[in-house]
């Protein structure tokens, strides 16, 4: 029982430390705030399920990224909405209209137009991760990461030209 409580406490701390990463990825892979909540919950469940096997075995940050990206990429949206945990946020990055949120929405519209894997790669790259780290998280070679990033940059430039 004590062990369970401790695990829950450790888990909550880990979530708090990585909330930005989890939220950012969920946001970039969603269409609205409800979907963000769904993905957030799904990610927390997957993190919780893997928490025992993870503990102390590898870098927390990489593990959180990997689980979150895998959850978001593989999530098949269910027609029937399931009960989700309430996100205690005062901002809504989809509907707010202040200048900062507009900047974030621009980032969202750029990233959201990319394919699923490309979206994951660019998010990791924007987090200043090395090609090696990106490769490890996505499960591709370092060379493949650099090739993909060149293509993604090209795509982003084309998007900008179109606008």
């Amino acid at each position: 029982m004590e062990n369970k409580k401790q695990k829950e406490k450790d888990f909550a701390q880990m979530v708090k430390r990585n909330k930005n990463t989890i939220y950012t990825v969920c946001y970039m892979f969603s269409k609205d705030q409800d979907e963000v909540s769904d993905l957030f919950q799904e990610t927390l469940i997957n993190l919780w399920n893997g928490f025992d096997s993870f503990r102390g075995e590898c870098d927390v940050r990489s593990w959180v990224w990997r689980v979150t990206l895998n959850t978001c990429i593989s999530a098949e949206r269910k027609k029937k909405k399931s009960e989700t945990i309430p996100l205690s946020m005062e901002i809504n990055l989809f509907t707010d209209t202040d200048s900062d949120t507009k900047q974030i929405q621009q980032l969202y519209s750029r990233i959201n137009r990319l394919g699923m894997v490309d979206r994951a790669i660019v998010l990791l790259w924007l987090e200043n991760m090395s090609y090696e780290e990106i490769g490890q998280i996505i499960g591709i070679s370092t060379k493949n990461v650099s090739v993909k990033l060149v293509r993604i940059k090209e795509q982003l430039r084309n998007m900008s030209d179109e606008q």
Partner: protein
Amino acid sequence: MEHNELEEMREQMALLNRKLDKEEIVSDEAISEMTQKRIAKIQRRLIAKMIIVPIIFFILLGIIGLVLGIFCDTLYYRIYQTTNELKSANRNLMRNTIRIKRALKYNKITKINTAIVFLCIPITTIVSLIYFGTKSQAVEQWVLTAIMAIGLIALAIYFIIDIRKNVMNNKVEDVLSQVLEELEKE
């Protein structure tokens, strides 16, 4: 151009992080509620598995027993046939000796049933221990012990019944051996 755009994206990402830093996003209560629900769900599944897995073991054991039972019954029938033919006073000694030897061989084969049960006890125990040992961190130890105990008692009962059956087999074997000795003397 490209450089500026990517720099802009990095700045926007930093902005997003700063904005999120100010937010709680998910409260301790929400995380606690979610994990509690999850634990309850995992426990429900484990309890279902705890009930189903031993049943499956026993069903499998039952199927093995049934197949062996049919196989042994066939052999018993052959022994019966052999002894029945001996009653019809066939005095061909050579033929009768071969028949009795065959009947004794069949009788020995029927004993493998006991060997299988012998093997099933440790196999079921080990498989159960490995299975529950890796999956049941959230389940109370006494529940597992109780299930293992029930499983072992059931197997022990099966084993005792099987031993009684083998005592009968031994009697058949004794009679057949005596008949064989008599035939060989003649």
